[in-house]
């Protein structure tokens, strides 16, 4: 670990066993598909075989008459088709209304006595389609004359105006800083390149699922694998036309999400089926459904141009990028445009981004959404600049690094940030200091940036008479956030992490809490836990004052967990340990609950630098990773093991995206590799140990300096691998994934 200055924490920075761990290693942890309710019916979803078609009619009568079928629903069963326009719950994406916009688009759902019967009944639903021309490439979709998905769509222009003709370009964003033309004119060297990335999936191992029960008094309860209990509640209430108080979402464990479990696909249809049947209904996706019909990240097309002086100073940076949104607007283009040059300080920048709809599944967030693509383009050009200028690539980045006070093109000005510290740690690392030798071997480095976010978070903690503290929260735990919240509460109370028991509770039992995403949870939960603890400390001070019969201001709660009062009549010191005072609570006025509802904007940006060594088999184009080091500014690592885990997991997803993962389509717009056999995520045998160096430049906007760690590690792998492959075999791979097929395409002679 590389740490600047850190207070002497007792719990923060230690590695306790996570509170929810035992249930997960003995198979008892309850995930969404494990929900079993009396009378529960399984269901299945009918999906579009067409990439683009008008729905002329749906006849469900044969399916409804099939023995064992209990109900069939279509979009006509929605009381309204309002929902939210955002990605969380778009009714048309949950059950198609007038058009299907991609293969896999849900059209109808069936509940039956068993799953096989429900699946069989799908064949009995007659959907009349008018098949329309489809468009699958983002550049094709932007052309005049491209098949139009939504006749009503007009481009939202950067100046706030609307386009006046039907289009697939939903939005054009532009960020401008300084004078990019003058900047390029002042450069000694300008490099401009085009890049492409393909649609890629989050690849969580747990398929989506939802179980819903619609009671006779129109109260709906939902159990679903989601990153946002409240997000599902609000989306479902909107789609079903119910008051928010009538929808309750129960917490279940979530088997991975990475952004892909922010949108909800199954809860509203399950609820509609439950209303029709009077029984709880459970819908689960197959792996094929997950790949074809949930929200992967966008494929993109990028042009990046950077100018530099001979001494290495960047004089101008320009990017043009088009993001596939899928069937409905809302790609991560906005974040991609803000991130593209975010690690660097450059006076002159011009960034254009386009959000483009086309006949692919509606994209969703995926770990640092939008950033892996845009920063891949920028980092690859920087690697070429370093080569052309004969500079060490880390040193060139250091020379141009953003620092405190640097303003991004989108206007945001950084506080204290840790990019330079990451670069320095990379430079000093045993990995970078080592020699790499051997034929067809190469080393690459790259940096990455992600914002991190804050938003609403609610918690309540109650002090028990034995000094233990149950803690309830509303943020879904996707990989250890219960532990980090409990540790921060324990730190603030001066007690042991093991004395706190964190729970995630239903949406009626805790205040509104934003979803788990944006690397926000350790940050925002930490704030809430801290404020909960401060609330408890104030109340315990008052209670002690009552017991000691002194003024409240004469009692102080120390960070060591000792409550100190004025000396007694004999002049002896009066103090309680946390446990001693807790034991007094029942007889001195009852229990104490600490509460917090926070919405902090003081989140701290995260930077990372990765180093990778590869060996490329020139005869096969296969890239073997020999060594990998991930360096990242975590602000403060609350539980270093889980910070390392995020860095390693993010790196491995980035490696997958860089080397082998892609959506492959046939001419009819069908995904042809929708299985984990052919959608090739890294196996244990594809990766080496992933070394980590945690840099700690504390975020001044957090009581323990937390920044958030989950997302940025997915950003550097692709450009680092690009650089390493180039170093190994002299080929610049500008299309992701850099698969053996693509590498051989470049290296084999034409007549081979």
């Amino acid at each position: 670990m590389v740490t600047t200055e850190k207070p002497d924490y007792k719990v923060v920075g230690t590695r306790p066993i996570r509170h929810d761990g035992v249930d997960k290693v003995i198979g008892r942890a309850e995930y969404g598909a494990d929900i079993r309710l009396p009378g529960m019916l399984p269901g299945a979803v009918l999906r579009s075989p067409h990439a683009h078609a008008r729905i002329l009619g749906i006849d469900t009568s044969r399916a409804e008459a099939h023995p064992g079928v209990r109900a069939v629903v279509t979009s006509a069963d929605f009381p309204s088709r309002q929902g939210e326009e955002g990605e969380v719950g778009r009714a048309d994406n949950v059950l198609a209304h007038d058009k299907v916009l991609y293969v896999g688009h849900a059209v109808a759902a069936v509940a039956a006595v068993d799953l096989h019967t429900a699946e069989d009944a799908l064949d009995l639903i007659d959907v009349q389609y008018e098949v329309l021309p489809h468009v699958m490439d983002v550049r094709d979709a932007m052309l005049d004359g491209a098949p139009i998905l939504d006749e009503k769509l007009r481009t939202a222009n950067p100046d706030g105006s609307q386009g006046d003709t039907p289009t697939n370009v939903a939005q054009h964003i532009r960020y401008e800083k300084g004078d990019v033309e003058a900047g390029f004119a002042a450069a000694d060297l300008v490099i401009e390149r085009e890049y492409g990335t393909t649609m890629a999936h989050q690849g969580y191992i747990e398929p989506h699922n939802s179980t819903a029960y619609w009671s006779k008094d129109d109260e709906v309860t939902i159990w679903t694998s989601t990153q946002g209990l409240f997000a599902v509640r609000d989306a479902v209430a909107g789609m079903l036309g119910l008051p928010v108080k009538s929808v309750k979402v129960e917490p279940v464990e979530i088997g991975g999400g990475f952004g892909g479990k922010i949108p909800d696909y199954l809860s509203a249809p399950a609820a509609l089926l439950s209303r029709k049947t009077g029984k709880p209904v459970q819908l689960t996706m197959s792996r094929k459904d997950v790949l074809e019909a949930t929200g992967p990240t966008s494929g993109t097309h990028l042009r990046v141009k950077i100018g530099a002086k001979r001494d290495g100073t960047f004089t101008a940076m320009q990017a043009w990028m088009a993001y596939e949104a899928g069937g409905y607007p809302g790609s991560p283009m906005g974040a991609g445009t803000m991130c593209v040059f975010a690690p660097y300080d450059c006076e002159n920048q011009l960034i254009d981004g386009y959000d483009v709809i086309l006949n692919k599944p509606k994209t969703a967030a995926y770990r640092a959404p939008g950033a892996p693509a845009s920063e891949y383009g920028a980092e690859c050009v920087i690697d070429e600049l370093a080569e052309a200028l004969d500079r060490d690539p880390l040193e060139l980045r250091m020379q141009n690094s953003a620092t405190e006070g640097t303003q991004r093109a989108d206007g945001f000005t950084y506080g204290p940030i840790g990019h330079e510290e990451c670069l320095q740690a990379a430079q000093d690392s045993p990995h970078y200091q080592s020699e790499l030798s051997g034929a067809n071997r190469g080393r690459g480095v790259a940096s990455g940036f992600w914002f991190n976010i804050g938003f609403e978070t609610s918690m309540a903690a109650q002090v028990q008479a034995d000094g233990t503290v149950p803690l309830v929260m509303g943020a879904v735990d996707i990989g250890g956030s219960r532990a980090s919240a409990a540790m921060q509460l324990a730190e603030a109370l001066g007690i042991a992490a093991e004395d706190v028991k964190p729970h995630i509770v239903d949406t009626d039992s805790v205040g509104f809490t934003f979803l788990t995403g944006g690397s926000r949870t350790a940050f925002a939960n930490g704030w809430a836990a801290y404020e909960c603890a401060m609330d408890i400390r104030r109340q315990l001070e008052e209670r002690a004052a009552t017991i000691w019969d002194c003024a409240g201001e004469d009692v102080s709660y120390g960070d060591d967990g000792v409550i100190r009062g004025p000396n007694d009549e004999d002049g002896a010191a009066q103090e309680f340990s946390f446990k001693e005072l807790a034991a007094e609570l029942p007889n001195t006025g009852g229990g104490i609950v600490g509460r917090a509802d926070v919405s902090k904007t003081s989140h701290g940006p995260a930077f990372a630098t990765h180093i990778v060594d590869v060996e490329v088999d020139p005869e096969t184009g296969k890239v073997e990773i020999l060594r990998y080091t991930a360096i990242q500014d975590a602000g403060t690592a609350i539980h270093p093991s889980y910070v390392e885990g995020q860095m390693q997991g993010g790196a491995s997803q980035g490696i997958g995206m860089a080397l082998n993962e892609e959506y492959i389509w046939d001419e009819k717009g069908r995904m042809v590799n929708s299985s984990l056999l052919d959608y090739r995520m890294p196996t244990a045998l594809d990766l080496p140990m992933i070394d980590t160096i945690i840099v700690e430049v504390p975020n001044p906007g957090h009581p323990y300096g937390v920044r958030g760690v989950g997302e940025v590690p997915i950003v550097p792998p692709a450009p680092a691998l690009h650089a390493a492959i180039y170093d190994a075999i002299g080929e610049r791979m500008r299309m992701l994934p850099m698969s053996p097929t693509r590498i051989l395409e470049r290296t084999l002679p034409d007549d081979d």
Binding site: G27, E644, G645, S652, L676, A684
Partner: protein, 157 residues
Amino acid sequence: MSDKIIVSATINDEPTDMLVSQRDSLLEALRAAAGALGVKEGCNDGNCGACSVMLDGRLVNSCLVMAAEVEGSEITTVEGIADADHLHPLQQAFLEEAALQCGICTPGFLVAAKALLDENPDPSEHEIRYWLAGNLCRCTGYDKIVRAVQQAAAGTT
């Protein structure tokens, strides 16, 4: 509904009768008819390992076994790994090494890793990675999983 049969097997040392459809997989039967909900479905075609169980002493993907096939067999799932009193060393090592994040793949990894150590108590890193290549984890990048297996093998938990 007429195709239902009763399959009797020993599941985690308990003789169990499962009422199943003839077209149910062992995965479906374990979850629906035997209550072994620790056995997870990730892909249903043998490519993720989340449904790994031991069948008559052999590691298998339970999604690729028909329920009807296991009549008279012995099956161990993640629920059967620990003693009544303590966790299996692998379970303890997974906790200590933070070898799980979301936890959905963990039951399959534990069953597979136990099968490995039963057969090869001192595997190399490569042997661990090779043996576990049929179990996908999307959260950890495998580093801490491999370390946990190494730790359990070394008997240091």
